[in-house]
């Protein structure tokens, strides 16, 4: 293996944290969703790396599942964005605070 597993894990962790930071920092719904996608892609990276390290295809299979799942989620998310946009003319996530306490 050319790249040591630790590097892959380090890189994907960094990517994951960046994605998480995006989710935490942004209020725009689209940006939050993008952050989530980044996190999930970091997962895919780590899985592929680990799969290579252990010489097992399990991880790669999981990545395929993950991609399918992600696309389903994206579809739902986008539908949701459109739906929300119709409900209230904003995509600021914090604007939706009708329920609290």
């Amino acid at each position: 293996m050319i790249v040591p597993l630790s590097h892959i894990l380090g890189f994907s962790s960094a990517l994951f944290v960046m994605g998480l930071a995006c989710v935490l920092a942004r209020r725009d719904l689209i940006m939050i969703l993008i952050g989530i996608e980044i996190m999930l892609n970091a997962v895919g990276l780590a899985l592929v790396g680990a799969s290579a390290f252990w010489q097992k295809v399990d991880g790669q299979i999981f990545v395929i599942f993950l991609m399918a799942m992600t696309s389903a989620e994206v579809a739902i998310s986008l539908a949701m964005v459109v739906y929300l946009r119709r409900q209230k003319a904003t995509l600021d996530a914090d604007a939706y605070d009708g329920m609290k306490g």
Binding site: M39, D58, M69
Partner: protein, 471 residues
């Protein structure tokens, strides 16, 4: 994947088949009630299949372990789905739900729950979890006319997405550290696996955080009340019982065969359990919205279940399974009452809407009474037996401290469980509009009521079954 594998998964296949059929049939604009009725039939068929279908112990592709344990949940979750659908007849029709999608999504979610409950690999765990989560994203926001529903959908979507990320990353880390997804192998959490010890631990941390979100443990619980409140009541019932229960079923499997109390996780779970019991209880004290109260109460109950999980062993796992069954009927019943009280346009938002219900709607009120008493753990209800089993397990394994905290929280919780009772029976004049319940709603209430009481006074058979099927 062989034919025998498919044969073993028969109940799930029935669900998925039903779901697909309904989804397609929905294109022909069949009436809502017809579709829901078919949905009920499919889920009952799945349950019946599971009852009569005995494939024996079978490991499907290293993903799903089919056996008594999974069969148990293959019966339970379809029943929950069927009940959810049964209470939706009037509720959904009033709100213009499109029948095919609604029933199909519930069946689909149910399939996810069954899969999750029988997962033997982290991959299948993830897939099962995501299957019903995705369905729930839609179901929560299903009522298009409701701003609250949209808000709830948004919150669940965003939080769920992040939690999915955590979960997946945790799984990836564990895989990186151990090279396997299989639960029986990754569960070995001792320090022996050298260099990757840290990675494993971080992986577990992520995994637990993701799961903690799904079962709304403190501090990942904040979404719960909002989502419960915004979601359509039947869906909230499914969310509260099925989705959480399935996760716990998987957790028992995941953490079952390691001596939890000896691992570093024990301390963490201890704190999580205590915090969930206490904070959930305190937050529920001043709630005026029944659904939000139920949400906080579910936080508390997850704390109890975590306590049983921590205790582990046969007692702990028996307690969890029993509690899940009891909790399913009780909570579903409670949400059914909310559904029954929902008018065309709105759901009851505050306790005041139940004022005097004890005399206007005796059956619904009596049912809610029994359900909240059961949640409070007062005999002769299922909740008492469940709590008894949990405290039993806790004391047996020496978690007396947590048991005491549990006692304290159930004492305080009595106060908020009594509040709706007081409103219904002891607050004088009625605000409740007179309405007559549909037979379907009545039957769900009566079924849940009887189940709650029977499990409370004669839990022996269920305990025996559970003891027989534990992995």
């Amino acid at each position: 994947m062989t034919w025998s594998d498919l044969y073993a998964l028969l109940p799930v296949l029935v669900l998925i088949f039903g779901s697909t059929v309904l989804l397609m049939a929905g294109a022909w604009r069949a009436a809502f009630s017809t579709m829901v009725a078919y949905g009920i039939l499919f889920s009952l068929a799945a349950a019946a299949t599971a009852v009569f279908h005995t494939p024996g112990s079978h490991d499907v592709a290293g993903f799903f372990l089919i056996g008594g344990y999974s069969r148990f949940f293959s019966i339970l979750w379809p029943i929950v789905a069927a009940l959810t659908l049964t209470i939706s007849f009037r509720y959904g029709a009033d709100r213009g739900f499109s029948g095919g999608e609604y029933a199909a999504l519930i069946l689909f979610a149910c399939a996810g729950m069954v899969l999750l409950s029988s997962a033997s690999s982290l991959v299948s765990l993830f897939l099962g979890l995501e299957t019903f989560t995705l369905a729930l994203y839609i179901l929560i926001a299903f009522h298009k006319g409701s701003p609250l529903g949209a808000e709830a959908g948004l919150k669940y979507l965003v939080m769920g997405g992040v939690a999915t990320g955590l979960l997946a990353f945790g799984i990836a880390l564990i895989f990186a550290a151990t090279g396997t997804f299989h639960i029986s192998e990754v569960s070995i959490l001792d320090a022996s696996n050298g260099q990757f010890h840290a990675v494993t631990l971080f992986g577990w941390g992520m995994l637990l955080a993701g799961i903690g979100f799904k079962i709304s443990l403190v501090p990942f619980h904040l979404w719960t009340p909002d989502v419960y409140q915004g979601a359509p009541s039947p869906v909230a019932g499914l969310l509260a019982t099925g989705s959480k229960g399935a996760v716990f079923a998987a957790l028992v499997f995941l953490l079952g065969n390691l001596q939890l109390s000896r691992t570093p996780l024990a301390n963490l779970l201890w704190v999580l359990s205590a915090a969930s019991m206490l904070i959930g209880t305190l937050c529920a004290l001043r709630q005026n919205n029944l659904k939000r109260m139920l949400a906080y109460s579910s936080v508390v109950h997850m704390g109890y279940l975590l306590l049983a999980l921590l205790a582990g062993g046969t007692s702990g796992h028996t307690a969890i399974l029993f509690y899940l069954v009891a909790y399913a009927f009780v909570n579903l019943g409670a949400f059914a009452v909310v559904t029954v009280f929902s008018s065309c346009a709105t759901e009851p938002q505050s306790y005041e809407d139940f004022k005097g219900a004890g005399y206007r709607q005796p059956l619904a009120a009596a049912a809610l009474l029994v359900f909240v008493l059961s949640l409070a753990g007062i005999p002769p209800t299922a909740g008492f037996m469940g709590k008894f089993a949990i405290f039993y397990a806790a004391i047996e394994t020496g978690y007396t401290g947590l048991a005491l905290i549990g006692i304290l929280s159930s004492l305080v919780s009595l106060y908020y469980y009594l509040r709706p009772v007081i409103i219904m029976y002891m607050s004088g004049d009625s605000n409740t509009p007179s309405f007559s319940m549909m037979a379907s709603e009545k039957s769900v209430l009566i079924l849940c009521l009887i189940a709650t009481l029977i499990l409370g006074v004669y839990p022996g058979p269920l305990f025996d079954v559970i003891t027989g099927i534990l992995p």
